[in-house]
């Protein structure tokens, strides 16, 4: 049995989840060195910033979100450019693609997710892009400079963000979505319609209920055939049809897998000492459902908790919540939790103003807030998250929903969280 002193901690994956865990471990156990592996060649960056990079809002040199000094400060050994091939849970070893083996006592898997590629003929053409790593984003950004138009497959958050970014650069953009509305996982149909209208006003063409059946590329352009019979020829196409967790390297191992890596409330996998967070971790959601929650929030929250657990401070994750915030053409929309409440018999407060444009919605179940959604209200979305997770009394926000939505939320917050704020500062 090794003493606690000799514990060697290894983190695989160097994005929000892995880094949040690293920081937490360093906070609790600053003496122990942590090893952190990255697939990328250089400093870590966030996949979230890639869209802004493509849109030209941020330059390449500002893309990395930690600097070289950081790992020294965190007492960590940063090992870039390492793809993990295999994890040997018996000997507790990681096998890297170049043959390097790293022994661990505690392991955190935070390898993230990759774009899911739908089975469409011709989708592997060089003019079809995905946005998940710096290389593809760099290529896409270069091509966008010299292109006139493009087509985006999938109207999820990434797809819509790229559409807005490219449209701002002056490209003609067409978005194709299989389902009947844009952002189907993020907003309800009414709000999606408002969002669609804003996009159309900004010159983005949106085709819902449409499927891409074939793609045919040349070296200069690509022809996309739709099931509506229409053929569109564009300079390039972007696939943004969701993500799948990066768990290929675990297929051989005996770590329990489901949709992602199965984890318990401590974010520990079926093997003791091996944890998983972020886009790869499939755990119990806040409402008890089994979900993978590929959001930055989830990665950061889980990373902190996994870091605590690894450093010996046992803590449970409250469960992932669907949380999304979306800034497009200077409009802000966000949704949290079970916002599509109509079907399950909950109390739903809803107001849609297409002309302003504004939308707001609260879903109450058993006198607790379980979901909400808002478009263009100057509210603080973080408060809603607290209200759901901490089960605050939603009386004020319900009563003031119509007249004073913003202050209803704020007064709920003030009533319920006074003490906590004080503690938070002084702790």
């Amino acid at each position: 049995m090794k003493s606690k002193k000799d514990i060697r901690r290894v983190i695989v994956g160097c994005s929000h989840g892995g880094l949040a865990a690293l920081e937490q471990i360093h906070r609790l156990d600053p003496e122990r060195k942590t090893y952190i592996l990255s697939r990328e060649k250089g400093l870590p960056y966030s996949p979230t910033s890639l869209v802004a990079f493509i849109g030209g809002e941020i330059s390449l040199d500002k893309l990395s979100f930690r600097d070289w000094d950081y790992f020294g400060q965190m007492n960590a050994k940063f090992i870039p450019d390492q793809e993990v091939e295999e994890i040997d849970t018996v000997n507790k070893e990681i096998v890297c693609s170049d043959g390097m083996r790293i022994v661990f006592d505690q392991l955190l898997i935070a390898t993230g997710a990759s774009p899911a590629i739908p089975p469409i003929d011709g989708i592997d053409h060089e003019r079809v892009f995905t946005v998940r790593n710096l290389e593809s984003a760099g290529n896409l950004q270069k091509l966008a400079r010299s292109s006139k138009n493009c087509l985006i497959i999938g109207a999820g958050l990434i797809g819509m963000e790229i559409a807005a970014a490219l449209s701002k650069r002056g490209l003609g953009v067409i978005v194709v979505e299989l389902l009947g509305q844009v952002l189907p996982l993020y907003f309800d149909a009414d709000t999606s319609n408002i969002i669609t209208a804003i996009y159309q006003k900004n010159g983005v063409e949106i085709l819902t209920n449409t499927k891409v059946i074939n793609m045919e590329g040349t070296s200069r352009e690509i022809k996309v055939s739709l099931d509506t019979g229409r053929d569109i020829t564009v300079d390039f196409a972007v696939v943004a049809t969701g993500v799948t967790p990066n768990i290929q390297f675990l297929q051989e191992s005996d770590i329990g897998l489901g949709q992602g890596i199965l984890v318990n409330r401590h974010l520990e996998t079926s093997k003791a000492g091996i944890y998983a967070v972020g886009d790869v971790a499939g755990g119990e959601g806040f409402f008890g459902e089994k979900i993978i929650n590929p959001t930055v929030f989830n990665a950061a929250f889980q990373g902190k908790i996994a870091g605590n657990n690894m450093a010996g401070k046992r803590e449970e994750f409250s469960g992932g919540l669907n949380m999304n915030i979306f800034n497009f053409f200077n409009n802000v929309a966000f949704s949290i939790g079970q916002f599509n409440g109509e079907a399950s018999g909950e109390k739903v407060l809803k107001s849609i103003k297409a002309e302003t444009p504004q939308a707001k919605k609260l879903v109450i179940k058993d006198n607790y807030l379980v979901g909400c959604m808002a478009l263009n209200y100057p509210v603080e979305p973080g408060i809603f998250y607290q209200a759901i997770v901490k089960k605050w009394n939603p009386e004020d926000m319900v009563r003031l929903f119509e007249d004073d939505f913003v202050n209803g939320i704020r007064s709920t917050f003030m009533k319920e969280s006074q003490l906590e704020i004080k503690q938070r500062r002084e702790e």
Partner: protein, 437 residues
């Protein structure tokens, strides 16, 4: 490291919900009166009773905004304060959603998120609030002053590592400017005027005289320039021995005659540069080389001589106390002293790492703690009217101050109680003086 993150102290009971802070913040940051551009918001505490709470970033200890920010736009700066670099912000707004306290906002104009920056240490909201419901608690940001003013120190200093007198003299000269004549009797701060080897450390006319007669010396200088019709800042930076002990008669005389000078007492509670002997201002219980600690001796037996009150009794036009931990407070007092016709006395508490026995990086902390425990209250008296300038809402026990210093290491419980009682009595006395005037 001691926590030095600045933040906004909020007194909700005083807030009337007038929204002046919100509008002035928006105006300062965006040039527009749109409240959505404000970094501070008014939250209703109770919608029926019309109670309000101003609210901004609480500078929490464990900020999630930093974790979720994809571009390192939000970071902790050198002081440990959470700051935002809006050039790096891409407007993803993840931080606004991650912040559990509603402290990050969306800036529509810039299409980015925004965070309270405390206006570089001079918060506009605090300035405009008519009810004083906001108070800035933080390391004073004197950057604006330092940018404009000139550092009158030349290279080379012979002071101890971490000496707060150096900071005090340097800062004083920055505020007073070149139109100043400095006289320093033998004391720690004399090394700033005498300099290192043969080069003086200050770039203004400076002299080092005798320990006993600084005020008399300055009387001559001051009267000379008065006769010539020149307005010159004539100042001395005298040690506590040169002020409270051997230099007292000349000081008392000059104050009584109301001579035009700024007399600053650099109080480090002992003769620190000659071997740390006790002086009149050494406080009760403190170790010095002449109040040793052993089987019989338990540090100084007598309490600290209350020099500022003595000077108040001289009916000097301006009397104030100051310390290096509250520099903007000191700056305001120094400017009042400059404007005073006649005698101005400022008593500065300058913690001494060598003689008080604390690490050289803690002078600021010790200085602040002296004020927070009411051991050294900051006040001023203009024409005899006493006003406490830094009010401490919940004073810390004096032990919080003494435990930072080796010179109090030996204090037993009864001594601490005695010191506490003394500090409380003195503070009550001061507040009664304030209420009387």
């Amino acid at each position: 490291m001691p926590s030095t993150t600045p933040y906004l102290k909020i007194y909700p009971e005083k807030c009337t919900g007038c929204n002046l802070c919100v509008y002035s913040c928006a105006l300062k940051h965006t040039g527009d009166f749109n409240p959505r551009g404000s970094r501070i918001r008014i939250f209703p505490k109770d919608t029926e009773k019309k109670n309000y709470i101003p609210f901004n970033c609480v500078q929490c200890k464990d900020p999630v905004c930093i974790e979720v920010c994809p571009t390192k736009s939000i970071q902790r700066n050198g002081d440990g304060m959470v700051v935002q670099d809006s050039d790096r912000c891409i407007g993803c707004l993840l931080c606004t959603m991650a912040c559990p306290y509603g402290g990050m906002y969306f800036d529509e104009e810039a299409n980015k998120s925004m965070l309270c920056d405390y206006c570089d240490g001079v918060p506009e909201c605090v300035r405009v609030c008519p009810e004083n419901a906001l108070e800035y608690d933080g390391v004073e940001n004197i950057n604006s002053l330092l940018k404009e003013s000139e550092d009158l120190f030349s290279k080379g200093l012979a002071l101890c590592l971490g000496c707060s007198s150096e900071m005090a003299v340097r800062f004083t000269l920055r505020v007073l400017g070149r139109n100043t004549i400095l006289h320093i009797p033998p004391s720690c701060s004399a090394l700033t005027a005498a300099g290192y080897m043969t080069t003086p450390s200050v770039e203004i006319p400076a002299s080092v005289g005798f320990l006993t007669n600084s005020a008399s010396f300055l009387t001559g200088v001051s009267r000379h320039y008065k006769r010539e019709g020149k307005k010159i800042n004539v100042i001395t930076f005298s040690g506590d021995g040169g002020t409270a002990d051997v230099g007292f008669q000349s000081l008392s005389g000059a104050a009584e005659r109301n001579e035009g000078m700024i007399y600053i007492c650099n109080d480090n509670e002992g003769y620190m540069n000659t071997g740390m002997q006790r002086s009149g201002t050494t406080p009760f219980g403190a170790w010095t080389s002449t109040t040793p600690v052993g089987d019989i001796g338990k540090g100084k037996v007598q309490p600290k001589k209350e020099m500022p009150l003595i000077m108040l009794a001289h009916q000097a036009p301006y009397v104030a106390t100051a310390t290096v931990g509250f520099l903007s407070d000191y700056e305001a007092k120094l400017r009042k002293a400059m404007d005073t016709e006649g005698f101005a006395y400022i008593h500065m508490l300058n913690p001494c790492p060598t003689g008080w026995r604390f690490p050289p990086d803690r002078a600021q902390e010790v200085s602040r703690r002296a004020v927070q425990t009411n051991f050294f209250p900051l006040w001023e008296a203009e024409e005899g009217k006493v006003r406490v300038t830094v009010k401490i809402r919940a004073r810390k026990p004096v032990e919080e101050y003494t435990k930072l210093q080796g010179k109090y290491e030996h204090l037993d419980k009864s001594q601490l109680e005695q010191l506490q009682q003394y500090v409380d009595e003195k503070y009550i006395q001061l507040r009664s003086l304030e209420s009387l005037s």
